[in-house]
């Protein structure tokens, strides 16, 4: 049972870290898109 719990907690740690890392990468992609393709205000 302890082995299962440690396995589950390890998966949770890897999984949540992985999700947040990938979401942060997508955020970075959006930030870059917003920097490069920001619409210029019309004069």
């Amino acid at each position: 049972m302890t082995h299962q719990l440690s396995q589950g907690l390890l998966l949770m740690a890897y999984g949540m870290t992985g999700i947040f890392t990938i979401m942060a990468m997508f955020m970075l992609v959006i930030k870059l898109l917003n920097i490069f393709f920001r619409e210029k205000p019309q004069s």
Binding site: M1, Q7, G8, L10, L11, G18, I19, M23, M25, I30
Partner: protein
């Protein structure tokens, strides 16, 4: 007498378990028609469950017939018996090899589910329906999508305690992705034997989001927090950004987690069709004809996995219970994460938005919006909740892919 027995062979062959499955299938159809619970899926699943439990399993395979050539082979070379039974679906009875040709349901299951064709095509249709504009305006919301996947991992631990091995527990945990095609995709890889109950649980609980989420949110938030306004920046997103976004996401996800490429790739391909603006016919076909056709076949094929011998087990009850746990922890994960972020930010946000980070779109954002209305608040948080909800759709696919990558390494 023999004639009568032949005439009523179907009636005589029926088992109590099959009658129970007729009731379960009928209940799913009732919920779809009367209660409007995910009718697009529960109705075909319910009818598929009835069809597959007809006597002699006629919708799955034709009555087995003796194959004289294979019979001769296994009589001469008994060591080949396993090869034919395991890989070519032969049954050996009294030294004779019987071949059961697949019927329509088995053909659909093998070609559409086991090959992952249907879930992936479903993602193409979903991608063509999605609008990432709000996410491009407010990318921080992606984090809420990530946080609301917490239920997946909490459920995996719970399922392990109920006696499931890590592969089966992971397939059950993915119910917490609140995303039918992802649940089916992972179950196909890790737990083909549990595909029926997992799919039914995933779709049932998605339709029960309006009942599950409000009590969890109320328990974790104060009235003041629920009444809190959410700032919203309405900036114009250039078309080029909308076009590059799906390509960039597909490439990024494919490089970081290659196993996610089929799911994210087709999701983003569908979105690119829509955002490009030059293939309107293809985009509409993906949104309507393709999505409808796949939904139709997916539902009835999933129903065909609900054969009484495999479905009427205590594991099915466990899976239904764990599905509820998954949705509760998803909601809690989203709300607690929003409250955690509030500790560090000057501009406090409404933590209910975190709960909308699950993938059940648009049910979850509607639930959050309705809750603010019920609280008597005049703040409109629908846009933010919808943005978190869209983020949840991406995050659920990422979570499913990560589980597929990490679990085999831990086992």
């Amino acid at each position: 007498m023999e004639f009568l027995a032949q005439l009523f062979q179907g009636v005589l062959a029926i088992k109590l378990g099959q009658l129970v499955m007729f009731i379960i299938g009928g209940t799913l159809i009732y919920l779809a028609i009367k209660k409007d619970y995910e009718p697009m899926l529960l109705l075909p699943i319910g009818f598929g469950a009835i069809l597959i439990n007809l006597p002699y399993k006629a919708m799955w395979e034709f009555t087995p017939e003796i194959d004289p050539i294979v019979t001769t082979i296994i009589q001469k070379y008994p060591e080949f018996q396993n090869l034919f039974t395991e890989h070519f679906h032969y049954i050996i009875q009294e030294g004779k090899a019987l071949k059961a040709e697949p019927s329509i349901m088995q053909v659909l299951f093998r070609s559409g589910i086991l090959t992952e064709l249907m879930p992936v095509l479903m993602f193409l249709g979903i991608g063509a329906m999605m609008d990432f504009s709000s996410l491009l305006k407010n990318p921080k919301m992606l984090l809420f999508g990530g946080a609301a996947q917490f239920g997946i991992f909490a459920t995996i631990i719970g399922a392990q305690f109920l006696g499931f091995d890590l592969f089966h527990a992971s397939a059950i945990g993915i119910i917490g992705a609140a995303d039918g095609p992802t649940a089916i995709y992972v179950a196909t890889k890790f737990a083909k034997d549990l595909l029926g109950p997992i799919s039914v649980a995933a779709y049932s609980y998605m339709s029960l989001v309006p009942i599950i989420q409000p009590p969890v949110i109320r328990f974790l938030t104060s009235k003041e927090e629920r009444m809190r306004p959410v700032p919203y920046r309405d900036i114009k997103v250039p078309k080029i950004a909308k076009i590059i976004f799906p390509i960039a996401v597909a490439v990024t996800a494919g490089i970081i987690a290659p196993i996610s490429a089929p799911l994210i790739g087709f999701l983003m391909f569908g979105n690119l069709l829509k955002e490009s603006g030059v293939v309107g016919r293809l985009s509409k076909a993906a949104q309507n004809e393709l999505a409808n056709l796949v939904t139709l076949l997916l539902g009835i094929t999933i129903g065909s996995t609900m054969y009484y011998e495999t479905f009427l087990q205590k594991e099915t009850l466990f899976i239904m219970a764990m599905g509820l746990v998954a949705f509760v922890f998803d909601t809690a994960g989203g709300v607690i994460f929003a409250k955690f972020l509030n500790l560090f930010s000057k501009e406090k946000m409404n933590p209910m938005v975190g709960a909308a980070g699950i993938s059940a779109f648009p049910m979850s954002c509607r639930v959050i919006h309705n809750m603010t209305v019920q609280e008597g608040s005049e703040n409109n948080i629908l846009m933010q909740a919808a943005t978190a909800n869209v983020a949840g759709q991406i995050a659920s696919v990422v979570a499913g892919s990560l589980v597929l990558v990490v679990v085999p390494k831990l086992f």
